[in-house]
Amino acid sequence: MKEQWIASETLDMLLDEIADGQKTIVAGGTDLLIQLREMDREEKPTEIADLSCIENLKRIEVTEDGLILGATVTYTDLTNSDLVRETLPMLAQAAMDVGSPQVRNKGTLGGSLANASPAADMAPVWVLLQADVVLQKKGRERVLSVAEFLTGNMTTVLEPGELIVEIRCPLWKGASMHFIKVGRRNAAAIARLNGAALLRTDGGRITDLRMAIGAATPTPLDLSDACEGLASDRSKEALDRIAKETIRRVEGISGRRASAIWKFPALENLSRRLLIDVMQKGGLNSETV
């Protein structure tokens, strides 16, 4: 069988190439190369289509749709971008925690979303920020929220011949944000848990408090509805209730596995911690927390 590596310079050319739905798509390759190594020779894909030559997929811009991040923007691009650091600094912070410098140099935002690992570092951030993904296949474009896009452990709504083109992220002007990742080591680590929280206030009153947790369930868990009560009650008991609710929901989705001995108490602490920290960042007096 002939092995082919197809690199196109324009998106249209590439969409033509992959229209048959037979090709494996590669962006940075940080997940695909490892998967290829673990495959038997017979299961290895023979045709690989490479996105990395398409300049347009590397753009970082602010438009009326918010921050536009091309599918092949790398984590390093994200951390180095002044535009990102000015508009959504949490993205740069979360990107810094991804893998190692080598992985950040090669790994892309689109590739990570398409891979759909439950432990993906940015996934809870996209869900928290209600980011959209723009998907294209030959003759069709659709826009979905990341929450809709991710369907399970390593699964998405992507159809054969379809690509992630860009991520559109609302700017959440004036909001305070906080991201936490817990790994077994400080670099080159897969998240054991991660999460992000966001707060908007008006005159010391909470107008919006949102939280999403990753690496605990197949897709990020959006706990924003559970946080609504904090607008009127920021007591320790209220925080404890949300922390317990987090575990209850995780258990409802993933059950109680062997790893729960650590994961559940850590998750309880992490969700509480995210809320306390984001409220402090937002200038809400910690005493009232």
Binding site: I34, R185, N186, A187, A189, R192, W262, A266, N269, I276
Partner: protein, 756 residues
């Protein structure tokens, strides 16, 4: 203090010039791939290689029956198994093909059927009656004992007695270079290129496998990409397998393990389960210690008994304890075999005694440093082996630790830090103290020797040959330092030849942090012979009167009494050679004789001990159990530092390795199968995980070591884990007694403390 010199091998290694075994290619070379056993215990019923042999690029499939010599001694891991398989990973066949990929693909097609036997994975269960015996009739290999004083007295005198269960886990060397070997059959002898830790062990096993006399096996070491105690028996097996291919096919052969294979087959550090009972008076004076250790040897013996012996001897720590009773039980299980790993039985018992000392300090309401100082060994004290000690520097090490850590201030600062926290972070400070026997000791008697040859060439350049391996520890630079110091030469004049077993005497294994002392002393002897030859030459030239003293410095030889009279080193060399003489010196040094009573476990275990003390400040996140190393202070008495930069390097590397052992590394087994066979799931610390490592060097001249030097490679890693866990325990307010102190264990301990 000596000025630092750059490592002699650094340029070649940094520029990619150094050649590793896998870099070597010969015309018509063939490649081998292993067929490994997939069950933990059983007998092979059939090996069907038909499918593999159908391929045109496959030459043959080698099995036990093809071995001309012996596959392995009793209890030792065989090159290929005959019938009985004892762990998942035992070698069954070697598929030989014209490319590595073809060999691997074909190996996957070899079908093996087994009659499965019950397997045992828990060493405590393994030694119970009616368990399937892995070797002979019982899984109990040996109990190594030490009996000192009278335990009844020890407990009677005690005002406080505590008992604790302590455990350590299984970790591995994880050298960056996996095992690799190349072999050539030269018609009447076999030539093997590989990176061994102990080349003469590898040569012996190859000779046994091929049924050749030792002089028919020539082993030439390639650059070693890391050992840390590994590449010993594992290298013997791989070297033998590749030699078999070359012998049986007549073609150059190569095998290189990938990471998964290296982890599946490679030896590990022994996991220990330890029970401690320790007694003390209220003022902290230790009265008695009882230690029971259960060591998991895995499926084969290798050096497990010797490792257990060192653990036994060192089990009482650097403390004066009049009554000590230690038993180390070595048991077989149906899993990956254990062997030497940087520390050779020290890290486990050092962990045990040091975490128990902290627990005792809490119980006595004493400062941990004060408790250690109170009991620290001194010159003239009787060690638990009955040996009267001299050159004891643990007291000075503890002083240096107190000073460099600003001990009391640090404790005060940490207490204040913790009081000010309303978040999840807590800091803690922990210490640990070390004594460690130098070189092989009585447990390895008869092989604690080494040979070094020094050749001065006609142009005055120096070539050094050594029987111990350069495994990254700096052995070559150490010898260059000694030669250049003694002959007053620039280090650049010297080159160290890579070890070729044809050209150097069998110097035993490169282990036990003994290179500097044993090979260093052999180097001194070789240089003395050369000096004597130069002396003869110069005397014949009537250059000085009889018995005149010579000084070697600045590449010149001078008369001590009349420094005006001088001859250049090169001139002296020329004169010697023109006089039909040579300037070759052969040094052979043997460690002082030791007497050991195996029954009582008493006697002179080691000719010397080295000492150290470590302190660590950590920050623990109570929310997650995550530990951050803030600073690690490592005090070591290294004797004369032959090369201070390398001393720092050894310490920093050893501490980093100890941090991995403490916090994250763990070989995870399920029913005998290793779950994490690559470095994505077997986590080693990165530069972001090791905090600030601060070496503190004491230089107390050794009476035995060359130029006063002492061994350092293993001591630096031995007490890292207890210093870190004691710091974590200090932060949590509850003692952690098992390794690793990972997220799970630390969070569980912190929740336990909360409930209490």
């Amino acid at each position: 203090m000596f000025k630092e010199i750059p490592r002699v091998d650094i340029q070649a290694k940094l520029t990619g010039g150094a050649k590793y075994a896998d870099d070597m290619v010969f015309p018509r070379m063939v490649y081998g791939a292993m067929v490994r056993c997939s069950i933990a215990h059983g007998d092979i019923l059939s090996i069907d290689a038909e499918e593999a042999l159908k391929r045109e690029d496959v030459l043959r499939v080698i099995t036990y029956d093809d071995i001309p010599g012996i596959a392995g001694k009793a209890k030792e891991r065989p090159v290929l198994v005959k019938e009985r398989v004892r762990f998942i990973g035992d070698g069954i066949a070697i598929v030989v093909a014209t490319s590595q990929q073809a060999a691997r693909e074909a190996a996957a097609k070899v079908a093996v059927t087994y009659k499965e036997l019950p397997a045992v994975f828990n060493p405590a269960e393994a030694i119970e009656d009616k368990q399937p015996a892995i070797h002979g009739v019982s899984n109990l290999e040996k109990v190594i004992s030490m009996r000192h004083g009278d335990m009844e007295q020890g407990w009677n005198q005690a005002e406080v007695i505590i008992e604790e269960d302590v455990s350590t886990h299984r970790v591995q060397h994880a050298a960056i270079e996996p095992e690799s070997a190349v072999a050539l059959w030269q018609g009447d002898h076999i030539e093997v290129y590989c990176p061994p830790k102990s080349p003469f062990n590898v040569r012996r096993v190859i000779s046994e496998t091929l049924g050749l006399r030792i002089n028919k096996v020539r082993l030439i070491t390639s650059t070693v990409g890391g050992s840390f105690g590994g590449k010993d028996y594992d290298m013997s097996l791989l070297g033998s397998r590749v030699a078999l291919i070359a012998r049986l096919t007549g073609r150059p052969a190569k095998m290189t393990y990938n990471r998964e294979e290296a982890i599946t087959e490679g030896t590990k550090r022994h996991p220990y389960r330890m029970h401690y009972k320790i007694g003390a008076k209220k003022d902290g004076t230790l009265t008695g210690l009882q230690v029971d250790v259960l060591s998991d040897a895995g499926a084969y013996l290798s050096k497990s008994a010797m490792v257990g012996w060192r653990s036994c001897v060192e089990s009482s720590g650097p403390y004066l304890i009049p009554n000590v009773h230690t038993d180390v039980t070595v048991a077989y299980t149906n899993q990956i075999y254990s062997d030497s790993l940087r520390g050779f039985g020290s890290p486990q018992v050092d962990y045990g005694i040091e975490v128990v000392m902290d627990k005792l300090a809490v119980r006595l309401d004493m400062d941990p440093l004060a408790l250690r100082r109170k009991n620290a060994l001194k010159d003239g004290d009787e060690h638990a082996t009955g040996q009267i000690l001299s050159g004891v520097s643990i007291g000075h090490c503890l002083d240096a630790l107190e000073e460099s850590s600003d001990y009391l201030e640090t404790r005060k600062r940490i207490t204040q830090f913790n009081q000010e926290q309303n978040g999840p972070l807590r800091r803690g400070f922990g210490i640990a103290a070390l004594h460690r026997g130098e070189a092989l000791g009585a447990g390895g008697e008869g092989i604690d020797t080494a040979g070094v040859n020094v050749h001065i060439e006609k142009d005055g350049s120096v070539l050094i040959y050594c029987g111990l391996s350069e495994v990254g520890q700096g052995c070559q630079t150490m010898m260059v330092r000694i030669v250049s110091e003694m002959l007053g030469l620039k280090p650049e004049r010297c080159r160290v030849s890579r070890l070729d077993t044809d050209y150097v005497p069998d110097s035993g294994p490169t282990v036990a942090s003994r290179g500097t002392v044993i090979a260093g002393n052999a180097t001194v002897m070789a240089v003395e012979i050369i000096k004597e030859k130069i002396r003869n030459t110069l005397a014949q030239q009537k250059w000085f009167k009889k018995n005149a003293e010579l000084i070697y410095e600045d590449e010149k030889i001078r008369l001590k009494n009349n420094p005006e009279v001088e001859v250049s080193f090169e001139e002296a060399v020329k004169l010697t050679f023109s006089n039909c003489d040579n300037l070759y010196g052969n040094g052979w040094w043997a460690a002082p004789k030791l007497v050991w009573n195996w029954e009582k476990g008493q006697g002179d275990a080691y000719f010397n001990y080295v000492y150290g003390a470590c302190g660590c400040e950590v920050e623990v996140d109570l929310d997650t159990g995550k530990t951050k190393i803030i600073r690690f202070l490592a005090v070591h008495d290294v004797g004369t530092a032959l090369n201070i930069e390398e001393v720092y390097g050894q310490i920093c590397g050893g501490v980093a390795m100890g941090i991995g052992y403490s916090l994250m590394e763990e070989v995870k087994l399920r029913d005998g199968r290793i779950q994490n066979t690559n470095l994505d799931s077997y986590l080693l610390p990165t530069a972001m995980d090791i905090g600030s490592i601060e070496p503190v060097i004491l230089q107390e001249h050794s009476a035995i070591g060359p130029l006063g030097a002492k061994g350092l490679g293993e001591p630096v890693t031995s007490i890292v884990a207890p210093a870190i866990t004691n710091a974590i325990s200090d932060a949590l307010g509850t003692q952690i007694l098992e390794l690793p102190a990972d997220l799970e264990h630390v969070l569980a301990a912190s929740m336990r403390e909360e409930q209490e």
